[in-house]
Symmetry: C3
Subunit: 139 residues, 3 copies
Amino acid sequence: MKSLTEHLWFEVPARCGFVNITNTVEELVRRSGVQEGICLVNAMHITASVFINDNEGGLHHDYEVWLEKLAPHEPLKNYQHNRTGEDNADAHLKRQIMGREVVVAITKRKLDFGPWEQIFYGEFDGRRRKRVLVKIIGE
Amino acid sequence: MKSLTEHLWFEVPARCGFVNITNTVEELVRRSGVQEGICLVNAMHITASVFINDNEGGLHHDYEVWLEKLAPHEPLKNYQHNRTGEDNADAHLKRQIMGREVVVAITKRKLDFGPWEQIFYGEFDGRRRKRVLVKIIGE
Amino acid sequence: MKSLTEHLWFEVPARCGFVNITNTVEELVRRSGVQEGICLVNAMHITASVFINDNEGGLHHDYEVWLEKLAPHEPLKNYQHNRTGEDNADAHLKRQIMGREVVVAITKRKLDFGPWEQIFYGEFDGRRRKRVLVKIIGE
């Protein structure tokens, strides 16, 4: 069995934002030498997500508006978590909707993707350095 | 390490619908010859889901009503994504709630399931042919 | 390839509750002898979740309040699923938000975690015995 472990670093300049990491992950799959296997990509922070969806700016705007409606940032005092001195309770909620991780099949040395699938890092409490883990296993 | 890759095709006749794919996936596990491993099942389209829950029609109705409330299809103009000429922004949102994929353990040549676990394809923008990927790895 | 399969049992005394299972999963990783691989942890019941987030009581309270708002337990008759004699339709919905499973990388014999990542069993229809599956594969 082969394996590869890599950490990707991000510092999103706003509180929320989405970063397309598809090419980076594809390059790691090539480097791993795995022909058949799986690739796990997960946020290592609990106020961020990794998810697969469309590379379309209008949709990303829609996600931000929708998540803010489902889990509003303010009023801060509506969340007990914010009594710890944090102001990011909403980010912990948003991340559960968008998910922590994706698992992608590797077939014939490539990510086995449908036509529009792209991998995104989703940030809900940015303006600081945070990590994503890529783990590849297979043969 | 053994592996098996298979694409399943669906054309759901309505915009939304759920299809039980448990038996198909179980048959693929048998065919793979894997005794101990994992089985990844994911939608290859970004307006559809694969999820595990109950094979009960009333619950599926409840999911449809609930998702429509959380991410309504109309008014179409409420979503920037629909300015691209699409009318399926809501489907991209619904799919994030229900999830892209499931990873199921294979133990002693079978899906290692609790008593009520069943795998479903969840369609939120149907009336066209779409795919699901099944990837099995193990020994 | 090495593998380990283990079932964890829970009986949460209330309808909803969260149980930190990180140490138990870490001990299973040690016992598996896997150096590089992945660890799948999933609820075997369809009204419960396994998720990764913060070990902070205020946040867990916020999750309960938020999930109750998104998918209220009552009125029971608002859900067709409850016509089967069940009263747990809301639990099937809540579990989709929080997720069925997590997949965690194993690197150098340990769960490859960010600083605050902890694994939780999330119960939405408790007061009875239910199971979680841990499946570890790798080398």
